[in-house]
Structures are given as structure tokens and as C-alpha cells.
Symmetry: D2
Subunit: 337 residues, 4 copies
């Protein structure tokens, strides 16, 4: 940790501050500059709070040198982690394809679409049972019934299922019936929920919050991992910007960054990012070219009558076309699909 002090700081105050650090077992080295004096602290600084050190009137600036994440950090875990989702490896050579409707609308619907996406090449089935909706007057999902319909679709197709958990209250149901637990963008910093899934061993799909920095996102993975669950998969779904032609702005630079800084897999959700099915194919191919470990895409066989998000859903035949093109791109970047 590097602490910059104001040049006119009274010597006695400087001494007192440095002694405080030394008492905590840190080694302090000073650099005297023309406009500022700089102190480097060597040792375990993880217990120090930058914002409290900044409260000291003689302090000009505080900077951490090391990243605050340990378990997710590639520095301490150089090999890629491959997460096993009920037999499907995520983060290995194969690019993993997750697909399905925004909402589970009924048993028949989800089983029918499950077969369609499986035929088109999907590896996992997605479908919302508990739905985070901006309005209390919008369809809130089929809840527990939706979960059992998903389980039925898994039974019929063999596809593992991924769906969103909104409250720790439903965790048991998810442990029993869901293969990959999604933590949605709005709950990325619902720390109690992160800790709850961290106490299981279930794979977790951690979506990036709408305005989360990459560092905060990794710290949320660290919450899950620090409770004992190492099975975290990142999912980028677009961030909030000023642009209005898209629902969110997909940030593909996260793919090489997450791979450089962590050892965990990362997949891309182009459907929620774009909010428009016409953009989904372009962004999907781009994601794989950038090195993503998978895609999660909304597919519906009757988007015009979908119970939610019809605008961003692909029809199964278009999804099949996308999978074919994605295969060719995957091959170019040394992956299979």
C-alpha cells in the first residue's frame, strides 16, 4: 500500500501515523518528493481501510498495489478452472451453449423449447421461474411450479438447467432441482445471497451488475468463494450507459480481462445486453471470437406472444443458424462447440 502525504504535514503527525502502521507489523519506507512525501507499507495490508486512512488530514492519497481478491486471482492459481455443471465442463476447450425462453410459461412450453434448443445444439437449458421485474404489476414468474417444469424438461431432454435465484429462501429447491444457480445482475451485490450460495457446492452463474466495475464483480465472486464454493462462472450481460439504441452496452473487453486476472470461466449473454434479437447473432459471434467460454441466449418459438422480453428472443431456426456459424468461429480461435 502506498500512502502520499502532504508536503506541509507536521513532522509529529507523520511520525504518529507511521508508528501506527509499524505497530500493526508493517514495514514503512519513505520517499521524500518535492511536492509530496510517499510512504510504502510492506506486509499484510488487507486489514487496512483506505477510506479511513484518507480521513487523516495529512494524507493526500492512498493506493493499493495488490488487487483485493485472492481466491479468484490468477496470480495465486495460474491454471484455468473448469467448472463441472452436471457433467458439462465450463471453461474447457468446448464453448458451452445455454439457451431457452426468458420465462418458463408452462410445462408444455418449456419442454417443447428444450427439445428445440437441444436439436439446435444447446448444452444447457435456461428459463426464468422467479423473475426480477421493474414493475410489481408485471408477470413475476411461475415460481416453484416453474422450477418443477424445468426439472421435467431436463428429464425429457437430458439438458442441465440454469435459472435465477432471487432469495435464499428458495435455496433448497434450487439445490435439489437446478444444475446451475444464476445470481442476477440486480443481486450481484446482495451479499447475503452471495454468502448463501457460497455455503453450497452448486455451480453459480454470477451476472455482472448493471453498473459494476470488473473489480467489484470479481469481489462478488470472492464472496462466494470465501464461503467455500469455488464453482463460479462469470456472465457479462451489458452495462448501463447513456446509449438508448441498445438496452445495455455489451462490454466484450471483459473476456480477456477476466481471463488475465482470474482463473474462472466467463460466458456472454448477448440477449439482455442488446435487448433486440436482430443484434444477437453479431454479438454472439463476436463473443466467441473474443475468447468467451460460452453463450446464454434467449430462444422462444413464439416471441410475439412471449410472456416477457419477446423482442430479444431468437426463434429456434435462427438459433440453429447461429450455432452453426459459432462453430466455425470457435474453430478459428482453437475451441470446439
Amino acid at each position: 500500500m502506498i500512502i502520499t502525504l502532504k508536503k506541509n504535514a507536521p513532522e509529529r503527525d507523520v511520525k504518529r501515523l507511521m508508528q501506527r502502521f509499524e505497530k500493526q507489523g508493517l514495514q514503512v519506507t519513505a520517499i521524500y518528493g518535492e511536492e509530496f512525501n510517499v510512504f510504502g507499507l510492506v506486509g499484510d495490508t488487507s486489514r487496512l481501510d483506505e477510506r479511513t486512512i484518507m480521513a487523516n488530514p495529512i494524507v493526500h492519497n492512498v493506493q493499493r498495489v495488490a488487487e483485493p481478491y485472492k481466491l479468484a486471482n490468477r496470480m495465486f492459481h495460474p491454471e484455468d478452472s473448469v467448472i463441472d455443471v452436471s457433467g458439462i465442463p465450463v471453461g474447457g476447450k468446448k464453448v458451452v451453449m445455454m439457451a431457452g425462453p426468458c420465462s418458463v410459461e408452462g410445462r408444455k412450453q418449456i419442454c417443447r423449447i428444450a427439445k428445440e434448443v437441444k436439436d439446435a445444439g444447446a448444452d444447457l437449458l435456461r428459463g426464468g421461474a422467479y423473475k426480477p421485474r421493474t414493475s410489481p404489476y408485471s408477470f413475476q414468474g411461475l415460481g416453484s411450479d416453474g422450477i418443477s417444469y424445468l426439472a421435467q424438461a431436463r428429464k425429457e431432454t437430458g439438458l442441465p438447467v440454469v435459472t435465477e435465484l432471487m432469495s435464499a429462501e428458495h435455496l433448497d429447491e434450487f439445490i435439489d432441482q437446478v444444475d446451475l444457480i444464476q445470481i442476477g445482475a440486480r443481486n450481484m451485490q446482495n451479499f447475503d445471497l452471495l454468502k448463501a450460495v457460497g455455503r453450497t457446492r452448486k455451480p453459480v452463474l454470477l451476472k455482472r451488475g448493471m453498473s459494476a466495475t470488473i473489480k467489484e464483480w470479481i469481489m462478488s465472486a470472492e464472496y462466494i468463494m470465501s464461503e467455500g464454493n469455488p464453482n463460479v462462472i462469470f456472465c457479462e450481460r451489458g452495462i448501463r450507459t447513456f446509449e438508448t439504441y441498445t438496452r445495455n452496452t455489451l462490454d466484450l473487453s471483459v473476456v480477456p480481462i477476466i481471463k488475465e486476472r482470474t482463473h474462472l470461466p466467463i460466458i456472454i449473454d448477448p440477449s439482455h445486453a442488446a435487448g433486440d434479437w436482430k443484434l444477437v447473432e453479431s454479438l454472439s459471434l463476436a463473443a466467441i471470437a473474443a475468447g468467451a467460454d460460452g453463450l446464454i441466449i434467449e430462444v422462444h418459438d413464439d416471441p410475439e406472444n412471449a410472456w416477457s422480453d419477446g423482442q430479444q428472443s431468437l426463434k429456434p431456426e435462427r438459433y440453429a443458424q447461429l450455432v452453426n456459424k459459432a462453430k466455425a468461429i470457435a474453430q478459428v480461435v482453437g475451441r470446439s462447440l
Copy 2:
């Protein structure tokens, strides 16, 4: 609701779409333009999903005319709502002052600071017991003990207390011992938590999410109100932007906007917005001049040793000065304090 169709839409498809709306009891009026045709739907359109209508390939655009909030909407409730927080009216003539440390650090600390802020002119005591922290390795709050220390401070000073609820699991404890339940920025769209506090009658302080639009924020209030709890107070605490000299960007335009569009009170948190105590006084006076119903400010008697957020905490004597200036500003805008 206004739906714009592409000019080249096949007549049969247009008819079919319009019939679907008419079957739902809506009245349809058409305007034929040069580049687009426009259809206005009159009736209860709240069940329609814009994003599903957009899935129709002949649709160019969909626009809601009425705002999606009803219970919070001033249009249907023209008088100001004044929320009673254990005897303190929020939203009336008096500007309400909430103050206290970022974290409850112990019984003595919170009782001592409670007396100091009361002497300086505070009406409510704030203090975090359950703390949302970016890092799992940071101090997570004293939890249940912190809540009982707050209750002790209330007993000693008579100040009602406000503190953050992070999980519905602790709701009973809050109903018993807390006067104003804070929903933090990171949980503004934790809809299960909103519904849980909506099922009580406890006053709720609803902080704006870091990247929430004003409309989304009001919709979160609507969640609480639609479960039966009308006692919602908005709290602006800065939004996330590209600027790095401040922790967040305080958006004071929300004050007149919330007052025009809703009937609920709004208070301002300059401490979290700025992230720097040196900016707090300026922003506090600005907030009152803009018409805010109150302020929530971090005050600590030893910021350099605070367990969190020392940088943005005022010392009690500075807080007392701020209260005095705030009084004079309040008077100019027809308020008391």
C-alpha cells in the same frame, strides 16, 4: 399506449395485431403518416408488455403515454404525504436531520455519538449494524449486537434510529427495534426484500440504486406500496458516473422531480455521494436550497480511527456548524429546521 408500425407492413398483419388489442378491450385509433402508421390504444394497457409487442416484425416502436406507477403518482394523490417516523414527521415543513457514524462500533461509541449529534441538532440517529461491503474481508458490521446498541442509544437520547436491512431474515428484529428501515442502494431492486418490507407498516428509507433511473426508483417504491405499506421516503445518495474526484455524482435535480411526480418525501445523503467530508457542507446546503425534506449525514468523533468510511465523516463540531447554516437556508425556502 402508442404503437408505430412500419409503412410497408402487410395489411393482414396489421389487422391481426389490431384485433388482438381490441379483443383485450382496448380501443384502437389509427393515424396514417408518410413514413409510418401510428396506432393509439385507449383503455387499461397496464397488462401489455412493450418488449413483447416489439417482437412483432411490423412494429417500429412502442411508447407508453402514462407513467407505470400508480400508488406513488402525484397525479392520483395530489397532496404531499408526510411520513411519521416514531413521532418525527418527514415531508412536512420541518427539514429532518439524520446523523451518526457509518458503522456501529460498540455500545459506548454509538451512545456517545448519539448524544453529540442530538446536541448538534439531529432528529434521528443513523448507524450501520449490517454492512454491505464490497470485500468479504472487510468489517461486516456488528449485526444483531449493533441493533441492540442502537436501541440502547435511542433509549438514552430519545432519538429514533435508522439502519440498513440487508436480508428479510432479520426483519423481525428491525420491526421490534428500528424506527426507519433503510433499503440500501445495492438492494434497491432486490424485489423480494422490497415485498417483505412492503408487508409491514414500518417507514422505509429507499436509497436510489447506483445506476437506477428515477423511474426505476419510483417503481421500487411502488413495489413496497403495492404490498400495503405507504410509508416510503426516498433517499438520493449519488449515482455512478465516469468522474473519479468524487465517489459518486450527487443528482440534486431529483428533488424537484420526485416532488412533481410523486407525493412522497425525499432526503439527501451527501456523505456517500461525495465520499469526502470536505464536500459535505456545500452539498448539504445545496440540498436544502433545492427543497429536500431532510439530510442523512455521517458523523464520527474520531474519523481517523473509524471502522469504515472515515474519509466522509464529519466531526461533531463541524456537523453542528453545518446545522446552523442549514437552518438559515431552510428559512429562505420556507422551511424550518
Copy 3:
């Protein structure tokens, strides 16, 4: 144009407003709703100013149905425009590769790098002579000398050159010696400069402003085109967001959007977007997979001693590797390179 009036608007005021529109030759149709009345205006509304109509106290909202761009709009020009840059077609089947150093640092340097990027597969040479720098104390570019060194490099390699014009004052020099005039992000809404290049027939590379919406960006192209110059190429270089691990956030959704809404080519600048050479290859391949018409990439043979932006520059050998992979991706999406 669709105008929503408040329900309680006095009838006389409504009539007066409608008569004003009718006097301007517009046809007015009314839809009477429960909470609002809606008026559709048919005819040439391009002379109307939305923000002035909004000044009328009875008006609730104003919405344009048609996009404000005409010359750039694909609706009126369905075929792709292919821009000829001194013999290199941009926007055709071939993906165009532009490469070179951030700054022209001398005659030898630019000629040497020109040969290297040509050997690696580049079609055009980039290099800054007039440099927009945040600080007046930073290197401001070699100016006119830099332009003549670029011309020398073109002579030696045959590569057409692209470089930034910062002031209309230097336009003559650019017309003589430059093949593709770049308008930088900071000048995207320097309307006098746009008009100046619009009065020439030189191809223009129009970078997106750091916080420009796609609509504003297209309107800046419209400025150039409305002065008589149809040769505009869009260039996305990342937008400003809250993220700090990258210099800017590259927005690849612009590729399908620009292609849907306009008939003009679009290329991607991954170097300025990422600000880090380690991200450039991933983002380059992603851009081509998304359908971009070209790439502009910073290449320097001694980045550690570059006069500017060394951090984001690729070495020539890495650039050559990137071009090879890009070729394979281009083929998958039906392009050549």
C-alpha cells in the same frame, strides 16, 4: 410527430396549438385517452423544434416517429455505400486493415513502420501528425512535418494514409497529401470542422465522440453529407463509462446497428478503446466476427520508447499474427481480408 397533451388542458389552448400546426401545412389527428390526449402530425415536421413545443404548458410529451437523418439513412438508400480511399474500397467484401504508430515521430520511423505493417498485411497507414492531447505540456505532434513524412512513407510503400485533422486551417495540406481525413472523437461535434470537410470530396473517417449516442454520431455524418460529401466512414473507438480497467468501453453493438440504420461503412479502433495492447487481438477478432468493415490498430516497433500511447501499441510481429487470425474469422463471416 406525436404530441401528448395533458388531459386537463383548456380546450381553447388545445385548439390554438393545433391551428398553429395546421397553418404550417401539417395534418392533425387526435386520439382521446383516459389520462392524456394524443395528437399525430402528418407532413414535413423537420422544421419543428421538439424542445420549443415542450415549452407549451399543456404539452406532456413530444416524440418524433421518423429518424432525423436523411442522407445517411438506409431507408432512402438501401444499398451499401462503398467508399473509395485512393483505390482501396471500404465497405465492400474485403475487410480493410489500417495500422501504424500513434504519433509520427520522424521520417525514418514512419517509413520503417509503414514497411513493417505493409508486410504484415495492412492496407492503409495511420500516424498522428496533429495530436489532441489532454495536457498542453504533452507532445503535440510534428504537425506539418509529420504530414510530409507520412507522404514520404506513402511514396515508399504505396499505402494510402489516414491522419487526424484538428482545425480547418490545415485542410489544404490534408487535401493535397492525405488520403483519408480523420475527425477525432473530441471533434465529433465540432460542427464548423464537419462543414469544412463536408465541402470537400475527400473520404472522412468519423470517430465516435466519447459520450456520443449513435444517433448524434449519425447526425454528425449527416452534417458532412449535407454539405455535399458522401464519403463518410464511421469509426467506433470506445465510449466513456465508469469502468477503470479499460481506457474506454468498446461498443461492438454499433456494427449491426450502423449497418441496419445507415448505408455507410463502419470500422473499429480497438487500440484506443482498450488502451492496452494485451486486449487488442481479442477485440479485433470480435470486431470482424461482428461484421465490421475494417480495423485501425496502433503498431509501433519500440512501444516502450514511443512518444505517445506505447501501452496500447502492438509490435509488428504481433500485428502480423493478428492479421492471420483475422483472415480466418473474416472468411467465416463471408468476407475476405
Copy 4:
């Protein structure tokens, strides 16, 4: 400047880098940490380019300790600068009021409004003659005629005038006839224009760019000052965010920040920030309470027929009310008006 090196950096490379700095006359001090090694450079580092040092593969991070601005920096110029605008001091005890229409629409109009705002208490007259408009089809301002009408209004009322300069081409006209030259938000980083006004001694009103950080904004002032013109006044006019209920988000924290870091005056433009006259009074009072040195407000006597921006213009009688309230707020914060 502080440079963090990767722990595994080969010693020879570290030595070579340090020697390079020492050759440039800098003194190097090392701190050896557990995960990184840190080097502090003491001396004149202003010639170093951070982004080029970052190009070195052994470098982990580079951080400047001192701010990059010198002439604007309060550290080297502790007293407030008061700028004389044709006899009106800006930055002194009196809060300065600038007002007038968005566009100069004719001689009579500007002279009439000039008298109205003067009667209401304005100190300077604003009015756009050269107008930056998003669309080439919108009214572009009366240009040179507009400037002469402003001069006429000044003659009739004695109010100095402020208006926007969009191109150095018109600088002579502005030097002759304008008292305060406005550099608009879109030209905040039009460095050639900044240098041009920097070579005069005319006071300059420097608007903040729509997505400019405060540091970049101060650096643009530094451009003007480094050419010899110390007469710079900052003007905040809102920044671009995701919020859509306002045109821009007014950032009032800039007031105490600019005053802490620079010695220059800062005024606020609530009209462009809000984009809605109904918000202007609240934000104006807030700005003065926050410590602003002045306000620039759009006033029009017939907003519903204004040639531009009617929605955000106050009528003269409302402006007069605002001035009265502003006076009382100014007094509370120790200012006059």
C-alpha cells in the same frame, strides 16, 4: 511519480529502466514488497508519458503524485482569482447573474429581453449567435448579425455580453464586440480553439464537456492559461449519464472541488443541465448555496415560440422571482447578489 513493477521482473530489465530515469535527472528510491516492487521518482516528471512507461512489460502500474495542472493549481496560487468582465468582477463577493435567450432571434428581441433581464437583476446578457446544433437541419444561429444585435443590446442596457465562439475564424469579431467568450461543452477539447482564445486576454467562459472529468476540464483551462490568458471562468452545465428525466445531470460537487483545487471562479448553468424550466429555480438556489460564483440562465419572453430550447427557458417574471430568492440564499453563505 510512483511506478509499481511486477515481482518476477528480471533484475537486468529493472536496472535498465531505472537507469533510463536516472539519466533524465530523476532520483529513484525503491521499496521492495511481497507482491510488487515500488519505485518512487523524484524530480521533474512532467515530461514522462505514463502510457509509454506502461508499455514496458515489467511495469504493473504508474501513478502520478502531483496533479498535472500548474497555472490553474491553487497549490501555487493560494488566493482566489477575480476575473474582470468589462467591469463586472467574477469570483469576488458578489454572485454574478448572466441571463438571456438561448438564441439571438433579432435585434428587437434581444434588446427587449436584455432590458427585461436587467430589470430583473441580471449583470450580463447571454444569447447565442453561432449555435452548435446536433442536426444540420436545425436553426444554426444568426451568426455575425446576431453578434451585432448583441452589441446593440449592450449599448442600450450597459450589460456586458457573453456568447459562444465555435471557430477561431470569428475570433476578431468576438474580440471587438463580445465581453466574455464562451467555449461550449462540445468544444471543451477543441485544443486549437483553446489555444486561439489563450492568445488573447479576453475573459473565457469554459463550459465542462458532456463527459469530461474535472481533471480534463482543468487541463483545458491550463491550455488557455499556458498560452498567456489567465482569465478563465469555469461553467458546469451538467454531464451525460443514463438518466432520461433530465437532459443532463447537474454535478454541484464541482463547486467545492474547483475551489479547493484551483483559484479560478466557477458558475453554474442550470438551464442546459436540467433541460426543463420547472427545475431551474431549485437548481439555481442549490448552486448558490453550494458556493457558486454565478449563474447563467436562459430567459425568454415567449418560450413557446422560441427558435430553440423553449422548454428550458424561464419567463422574465419567473426569473425576477428567482433572483430575489437567490439574494437571500447568497446572504446566508456570506455573498451578495
